[in-house]
C-alpha cells in the first residue's frame, strides 16, 4: 500500500489534488463556523446552484470564459442573502432554499431549451460533482487556488474579531457603532468566491459538506470560538487528505470519499462529545 502511495506521489496531478483539496477545505471550514452559527448551513448548496445558473446562461450566450458571468452573479446573490439579515420578511434558511431550488431549476430549464451542447446531463452532473475533476487540475488552476486561499485566510485572520462579534450578536455590534454591514459584505463576497472556486474544482456537493461537517464536529467537542475555529480547520484538512488518499488507493470518486471521511470524523466527534458530557 505504501509502495502504491509513493508511486502515486510521483505524479504532479496527485500533488495538485492534495494541495487544492487542503486549501479549499481550509478556507471553507474557517467560514463554515460562522455560516453554521448564523443558520446559513445551506449556503454552499444555494450559491453553487446560483453559479450553475450562471454557467447555463454563459453557455447559452456562448461566452467562453463563463467566470465573467458566474462570479458576479454569485457574489451578488451572496450579498443579498447574507446581508438581508434577521429583519427580512423571508428568513435566512427559507430564502436560501428558494434560491437554491429556483436557480437549479431555471438553469436546467435554460440549458435544455437553448443549449448548443448535446450533453446536458453531463454538464449538470459535472456541476454537482465537480466539473473539472480534482484529479485533472492544471498548473494555473492550482496557482489561482493558492493565491485566492492565501487572500481568504489573510482576510479571516485580519477580521477574526469582527467576524466573531457580528456572528455572535449583529444587533449589538451595530448598536455600539461597529460597521457590521461592511463586514457582512466582505464576508459574503469571500464566501461566494470560495464557493465558486470550490464548485469548479471539487463540485457543489463537496463544497457544502466542507462548510458544514468541520464546524458541526468542532462544536461537539469545543466550547470557545477560537478552539472551535482551529479544530474545524484542522479537522477539515485531515479529512480531505484522508479522503483523497483513500480515493486514490481504491479508485473511488474523490469528492464522495472526502465527504465520507468527513462523516466518519463527525461521528467520532459526536461520540467523543457525548462521552465527555458524561464524565
Amino acid at each position: 500500500m505504501i509502495d502504491k502511495l509513493v508511486y502515486y506521489f510521483q505524479f504532479p496531478f496527485v500533488i495538485y489534488a492534495i494541495i487544492v483539496g487542503v486549501l479549499i477545505s481550509l478556507c471553507s471550514s474557517l467560514f463554515g463556523v460562522t455560516l453554521v452559527l448564523r443558520r446559513f448551513s445551506f449556503i454552499g448548496d444555494g450559491l453553487s446552484h446560483v453559479a450553475f445558473l450562471g454557467v447555463a446562461v454563459a453557455a447559452v450566450l456562448n461566452i467562453t470564459d463563463n467566470m465573467l458571468i458566474v462570479m458576479p452573479v454569485t457574489v451578488v446573490c451572496a450579498v443579498l442573502v447574507l446581508c438581508a439579515g434577521q429583519n427580512s420578511k423571508i428568513k435566512g434558511d427559507a430564502s436560501m432554499a428558494v434560491l437554491s431550488v429556483g436557480a437549479l431549476a431555471i438553469g436546467y430549464l435554460i440549458l435544455n431549451i437553448f443549449s448548443p451542447s448535446a450533453n446536458v446531463s453531463g454538464d449538470v452532473c459535472g456541476t454537482l460533482f465537480g466539473s473539472v475533476s480534482i484529479l485533472t487540475l492544471k498548473g494555473y488552476e492550482v496557482f489561482l487556488c493558492v493565491v485566492v486561499s492565501a487572500v481568504v485566510v489573510l482576510l479571516f485572520l485580519m477580521f477574526y474579531n469582527r467576524i466573531f462579534s457580528v456572528t455572535f450578536d449583529e444587533d449589538f455590534a451595530r448598536a455600539t457603532g461597529v460597521h457590521a454591514g461592511v463586514y457582512n459584505i466582505v464576508m459574503a463576497v469571500v464566501i461566494a468566491v470560495i464557493i465558486v472556486l470550490g464548485m469548479k474544482l471539487v463540485g457543489s456537493l463537496l463544497i457544502s459538506a466542507l462548510i458544514i461537517f468541520p464546524a458541526l464536529s468542532a462544536m461537539r467537542l469545543f466550547n470557545s470560538y477560537r478552539s472551535v475555529t482551529m479544530f474545524s480547520a484542522a479537522f477539515s484538512v485531515v479529512c480531505s487528505i484522508t479522503g483523497i488518499i483513500a480515493a486514490l488507493l481504491t479508485g473511488a470518486p474523490v469528492g464522495s470519499a472526502v465527504v465520507a471521511a468527513d462523516i466518519v470524523g463527525f461521528a467520532v466527534c459526536a461520540a467523543g462529545g457525548a462521552i465527555a458530557k458524561r464524565i
Binding site: 452559527l37 443558520r39 477580521f159 469582527r162 449589538f172 455590534a173
Partner: protein
C-alpha cells in the same frame, strides 16, 4: 445639555405603527426607566434609539457629542445565542470592539474586559463556556459586554430578567454606581421598586404615554404603576 431628543417620534415595523407621538429628551447623567405592559413597544423604542430600526416618522436627534461607539447595550435575551460556542472572555471582550483602533485588541482593552467581568462578579468564569452557564450568569456576561462598550450611555432591556433577587440587587447597584459617574442609563424594567429607588425620569408606554420626572410619575400614577 440633552444627549438625545425625540421629536414627534412614531415607532413601528415595516411602516406599521405601534406607538406614536413620542416627545422626550434625555440629559447627560439621567437614569430613565421605561415601563409598560408586555408588547407595548418598549424594546421597539430602544432599538429605534439605537438605530437598529428606522422610525416610521419623527426625528431622533443626538447631541452633546454622543456617538454610537460610546454606547453600551444589553439586549433582551434571545434564544439563538444560548448555545453559542464561545468562552465568557471572548464574549465580554467583543464589547470592546467599538474601541479597538487596529485589527486586534490592545492590552488596555483586554484589561477593560477583565475589570468589567470582576465588576459583575463573573471574574472566575472567564474561561467557562457561555452555553454551559445558567440564564442569570449569561445575563451577567452580556452586562459585562455592555459595560465594555459603554462610555457615556448604557441601554438595558430588562436586565434583571432571569436573575435571582440578590443578583438583581447587585446588578442595580453596579448600574447605579456607573450612573453616579455621570453615565446616562436607559433601562426597561418591570421592577417598580427599582424605578422608585434609582430612576430620575420615567417613560411609561401603553394606552397613555407618559414622560417626565419620577416624582411627577409617582404622584400621577401611584408607585404601583400599571406595568407591575
Amino acid at each position: 445639555m440633552a444627549q438625545i431628543i425625540c421629536e414627534n417620534l412614531t415607532l413601528g415595523y415595516d411602516g406599521k405603527t405601534i406607538l406614536s407621538g413620542l416627545n422626550l429628551s434625555i440629559e447627560k447623567g439621567d437614569y430613565l426607566c421605561i415601563v409598560g405592559d408586555n408588547g407595548s413597544g418598549k424594546t421597539t423604542f430602544m432599538k429605534t434609539l439605537l438605530g437598529l430600526l428606522t422610525p416610521v416618522s419623527g426625528k431622533i436627534i443626538t447631541c452633546d457629542g454622543l456617538e454610537s461607539v460610546q454606547i453600551g447595550y444589553l439586549p433582551q435575551q434571545t434564544q439563538i445565542q444560548r448555545d453559542f460556542p464561545a468562552s465568557v472572555y471572548e464574549i465580554v471582550l467583543s464589547g470592546c470592539l467599538n474601541k479597538a483602533r487596529g485589527l486586534f485588541y490592545s492590552k488596555d482593552l483586554r484589561q477593560r474586559a477583565y475589570d468589567n467581568m470582576r465588576k459583575v462578579a463573573i471574574g472566575e468564569l472567564a474561561k467557562k463556556s457561555y452555553r454551559q452557564l445558567s440564564g442569570g450568569q449569561q445575563q451577567r456576561v452580556l452586562l459585562a459586554r455592555a459595560l465594555c462598550a459603554a462610555d457615556k450611555m448604557l441601554l438595558l432591556d430588562e436586565p434583571a430578567s432571569g436573575l435571582d433577587p440578590a443578583a438583581a440587587q447587585e446588578m442595580y447597584s453596579v448600574i447605579s454606581s456607573l450612573n453616579k459617574d455621570s453615565m446616562t442609563i436607559i433601562m426597561i424594567t418591570h421592577d417598580m421598586a427599582a424605578v422608585k429607588k434609582y430612576a430620575t425620569h420615567v417613560l411609561h408606554i401603553g394606552s397613555d404615554v407618559f414622560f417626565g420626572e419620577k416624582a411627577e410619575y409617582i404622584s400621577k400614577y401611584g408607585i404601583q404603576g400599571e406595568g407591575l
